[in-house]
Symmetry: C2
Subunit: 280 residues, 2 copies
């Protein structure tokens, strides 16, 4: 979905002569579909053939697959090519690159488009997925300045607003806004799904539940990888959330109406601050 | 918002000759706005004037206000009028009626439209709010069958799909799909809002966060009332949720990848069952 969306967006904006995909044999059906829809021009399951003459290589894969992918493409790595990725966690991707290359190559520019959907595969690809969305680049001290500028231009031409952030800060921020909410949604939908009354529960769920639970439909492989890759940021946040929830449960148990009202009001104001900066 | 939406919907479908609002003096601005927009024909802060000649009275107020409202309107209660409400919890509303009248009157038919929005006030009223939404009636053993049928027809003509449910079952089901998710959203947005990095956290939040957190913008007074009114259903559910979250945290801490994958996959399938029945 992400790879296909980048391909569609890049073609729509005439950023490329040719788009070539590299994937595993078992994804051939998805690749064939991408060919038929004109999303890509050619595809390979062999890294050597796919990477020849590439100017820019973007690795769009679950973060747990990055180490294997770096190893697969390392023999064909070229100094004049720009390499990047779309991983939702950055420390783990950079570590995978360091392991595969004995140090992250200066022409690998780690990046993360803050855009996505709960659907997977090329059929869900969308040329406007990145329009007016943020893209975070987490450069390393040895990252090549020209390659960094080149990747920035690429994403800006896809419509994204590009920021730079250090690796740890990226992983901290994303744990809070993305990884933790996914865990909370998986937990809620899992809990309700196991209840005897689940048919009735789901039947009478309102639109609030639909929105709240949407991210529980996200790809489990991708999210397993993200949660494991960023567990050192995510686990302490889950602990903080448990404490927050326990505080609210206590207020409720003890009918502390004033404190509960303040808690709900504070959350409403905090969300308003979030909405306000969306308009900035 | 709910009262205004019922008024707009009823007028649009020619279900009434005249729409009269009763509210507190401090809400006069909202009522004036409702008059100017043609949502209501007249408004009063005096129950006697408002209730004279009414055929149907619908109480749309936070559930914590129901007892006071029943007491206010009790002196003008008429056997030929149909009374109902829109409260999100039903046991507490029925208890309030029992206290005010020494037993719930047979012409009070408790109801709950499963529709809403995080906004309040008549400016947010929407004539199509109830179209294709569910409405639950929780009749009591002594509820008048004709009044029940009358209320059912009324809501069906507003476009709702009307079901009957017993009171306790309603409160159990709604605690799971509505009240618990609201608590979880309030807790998350409150937690993140207190962090030093909140500006950055909110700046880089993706659409998943926007959807997940939407219900945290709900009216705090209304939700304080709902949570307190339904705390005997809600608290055990919060406890179950805490256990679920702890299980996931343990899996993550101990790198139990297979169990985590199964947990995420199960949640995704459960949400698919929810989506499937939406189409039924």
């Amino acid at each position: 979905m992400i790879g296909g969306s980048i391909a569609k967006a890049a073609r729509l904006r005439n950023l490329c002569e040719e788009i070539v995909a590299l994937d595993r044999e078992q994804n051939a059906v998805n690749l064939q579909l991408a060919m038929e829809h004109g999303v890509i021009d050619r595809f390979y399951t062999d890294a050597s053939a796919a990477l020849t003459n590439a100017d820019i290589v973007i690795i769009a894969a679950p973060v747990g697959a990055m180490h294997g992918i770096f190893q697969q493409i390392a023999p064909f790595w070229r100094a004049d090519c720009l390499y990047s990725d779309t991983g939702s966690t950055k420390a783990s991707v950079i570590q995978a690159a360091e392991q595969a290359f004995g140090g992250a190559p200066p022409n690998f520019v780690p990046a993360h488009p803050i855009a996505g959907a709960e659907r997977s595969g090329v059929a869900a690809a969308n040329a406007e997925l990145f329009t007016n969305r943020r893209l975070i680049i987490t450069p390393l001290p040895n990252t090549d300045a020209n390659k960094l500028a080149e990747l920035t231009r690429f994403w800006e031409r896809l419509g994204s607003s590009v920021s730079e952030m250090n690796v740890e800060h990226h992983d901290t921020v994303l744990a809070a806004t993305s990884h933790l909410p996914h865990i909370l949604a998986f937990a809620l939908v899992g809990l309700l799904g196991r209840k005897d009354e689940q048919r009735e529960i789901f039947k009478y769920a309102a639109s609030g539940f639909k929105d709240f639970s949407r991210i529980a439909s996200s790809d489990p492989t991708m999210w397993l990888d993200i949660c494991l890759a960023n567990k050192h940021e995510l686990l302490p946040l889950i602990r903080q959330y448990q404490a927050e929830l326990e505080t609210i449960a206590q207020m409720l148990a003890e009918d502390q109406t004033e404190q509960l009202f303040e808690t709900f009001t504070y959350a409403g104001h905090a969300r308003q601050r979030y909405l306000d900066q969306l308009d900035d």
